[in-house]
Amino acid sequence: MKTLKELLYSKDHEWIKVDGDKAYVGITDFAQDSLGEIVFVELPEVDSEFSKGDVFGTVESVKAASDLCIPVSGKILEVNEELVDSPEGLNDDPYKNWIISIEVSDEVELKDLLDAAHYEKICDKE
């Protein structure tokens, strides 16, 4: 299982990368590996707003469909349209292929997220 040191993680297996005012959100390597071959990603509308933990989309694999939960509250700035035609991108490189970018509404919420080492421990238990 791969993690990246510079990212923050949620217990729901999403990662977030804060880049100035903007943050990118995707699913972790552990998530893509558990789901198996991903065949569809449902993306939210740009400009829609979500509170921490809200479902902002779904990923469907050949064996399951899972909700995507937003790690911190925010407004959708961009969605990765490439995933519509190539959902397998999430299997190939889940850290390069982000799903949404958001404007974080409350930076304090970032403190509740996990660093790579903590996240790995959680995955080990699952």
């Binding site: 569809f40 469907e60 469909a65 909700d67």
Partner: protein, 447 residues
């Protein structure tokens, strides 16, 4: 009546012995003597099969069906020409008796028929995706409303009062328990009041539902409505008579997000209220939000074409609690009927049917207006139904028509209280010039 041999005395004896009692009365020994009837029930003696048959047939004779009467009643259910090939194909036992025939291993024929039904319905409505069908037009409309609420994460369903009142009733019933609000928009001169509709659009509006041709027979202008609805990021749901699409622009062409309607028109008989056929088509964008079953075409391990249920993550198998709907039933036999109907007629045929509806209904309308005794209630384009008014009550007019073996129109006042003495008449392709002339002459003769 015993058209078969029931239990013999010997059978009864063996069964009683097996459970350790000596007579059937012993089965009732727990019931106190004082409350027992102790005599035979006061009903007639049994009849022979022959007697029963003739008795029931006699009662049935007092029914008046559209075989006995000439039907000018529409209002959601239509007396249409049904090609005889339909009954020959649908009564094959492979189709007729199969229940939930979705297993790919044993049901390739049914699955292929459903796949083809989906294809013709998507083509007819101008949409990209169709489900395998639903119970009827009303429940298809409900499913579309729920789907819109799920897609938009909004709670208000705005519906025009020109939508079939019975469909609106079903919507009301369902939405009450789905925590969604139903907002009804008045009509003006027989069509949706667009200004009022605009006023109701806001960030809570999940969808707008409009019927065209509407319940009052008129064709709704939806170009502007489409713009307002989409500017508001709501979904446009169009409810329509599929036959009308033989001549009118398809809802897909003017930007509908979901198209639903009653498919009875497509080769299904009127059946005293059911079973009917709900259809629901949408765009690729909402493909994964569509309720019910979808059949897809694929290739098997040997590279041969085959059919399977597809996109099932939408429904109960995987995400029961998250699915926009848990409905899994379709109306396979009625969908098959629609498929045979549409393929028998072909593109030209359905255009011809639609064209005849327009011509014949306009001929009847024109004759009635020329008589001077009937006035047009609306002044807008219509498909095959129109409303006329006279000085007499619709009940009285229909009574006279019935005496002349004609089933008259729908009394508008039942659902639209401001339209007194107004009758919604329907003329389908089945009506001949002679029948229409008889209708108008009987109507003109009413003093």
């Amino acid at each position: 009546m015993h058209p078969y041999l029931p239990l013999t005395e010997e059978d009864k004896k063996i069964m009683l012995e097996k459970i350790g009692i000596s007579s059937i009365d012993d089965l009732f020994s727990d019931i106190p003597e004082s409350v027992r009837l102790n005599r035979k029930l006061n009903i007639n003696d049994g009849m022979s099969e022959l007697e029963v048959e003739s008795y029931i047939k006699d009662i049935a004779k007092s029914n008046k069906s559209c075989e006995d009467l000439t039907c000018f009643l529409g209002a959601g259910v239509y007396d249409r020409y049904i090609p005889s090939v339909i009954k020959h194909i649908i009564s094959r036992s492979e189709f007729y008796t199969a229940y939930t025939p979705y297993q790919a291993e044993i049901s390739q024929g049914t699955l292929q028929a459903i796949f083809e039904y989906q294809t013709v319905m998507a083509n007819l409505t101008g949409m990209e995706v169709s489900n395998a069908s639903m119970y009827d037009g009303a429940t298809a409309c409900v499913e579309a409303a729920q789907m819109a609420a799920n897609v938009t994460r909004r709670k208000n369903i705005v519906v025009s009062k020109t939508l079939n009142p019975e469909v609106r009733k079903v919507l009301k019933t369902y939405l009450r328990f789905k925590d969604l609000n139903l907002i009804e928009i008045d009509e003006t001169s027989g069509v949706t009041d667009i200004d009022k509709l605009k006023d109701e659009l806001n960030k809570d509006t999940a969808a707008v539902i409009v019927q065209t041709p509407n319940f009052l027979g008129l064709i709704e202008e939806l170009q502007d409505v489409e713009k307002y609805v989409h500017d508001n990021k709501s979904l446009l749901i169009v409810f329509c008579d599929p036959i009308s699409l033989g001549i009118l622009k398809s809802p897909g062409e003017y930007g509908a997000d979901v198209v639903v309607g009653e498919g009875q028109s497509l080769g299904n008989s009127m059946n005293y209220g059911g079973p009917y056929l709900g259809f629901l088509t949408t765009t690729k964008k909402y493909m994964r939000k569509i309720p019910g079953r979808i059949v897809g075409e694929t290739t098997d391990s040997e590279g041969k074409r085959g059919y399977v249920l597809t996109l099932q993550a939408r429904e109960q198998h995987i995400r029961r609690e998250k699915a926009s709907s848990n409905i899994c039933s379709n109306e396979a036999l009625n969908a098959l009927t629609a498929l045979i109907y549409l393929t028998t007629l072909g593109k030209k045929g359905i255009r011809e049917v639609a064209y005849q509806n327009v011509q014949k209904s306009h001929y009847a309308f024109k004759k009635l207006i020329e008589s001077g005794k009937y006035k047009a209630v609306f002044d807008k384009p219509f498909f095959n139904e129109f409303v006329v008014t006279s000085k007499n009550s619709v009940g009285d007019v229909n009574k006279t028509l019935l005496e002349n073996k004609i089933l008259g129109g729908y009394d508008m006042e039942k659902q639209y209280s401001s339209y007194k003495n107004s009758m919604l008449l329907c003329v389908t392709e089945k009506r001949t010039k002679n029948e229409i002339d008889k209708l108008t002459s009987v109507l003109e003769g009413i003093e």
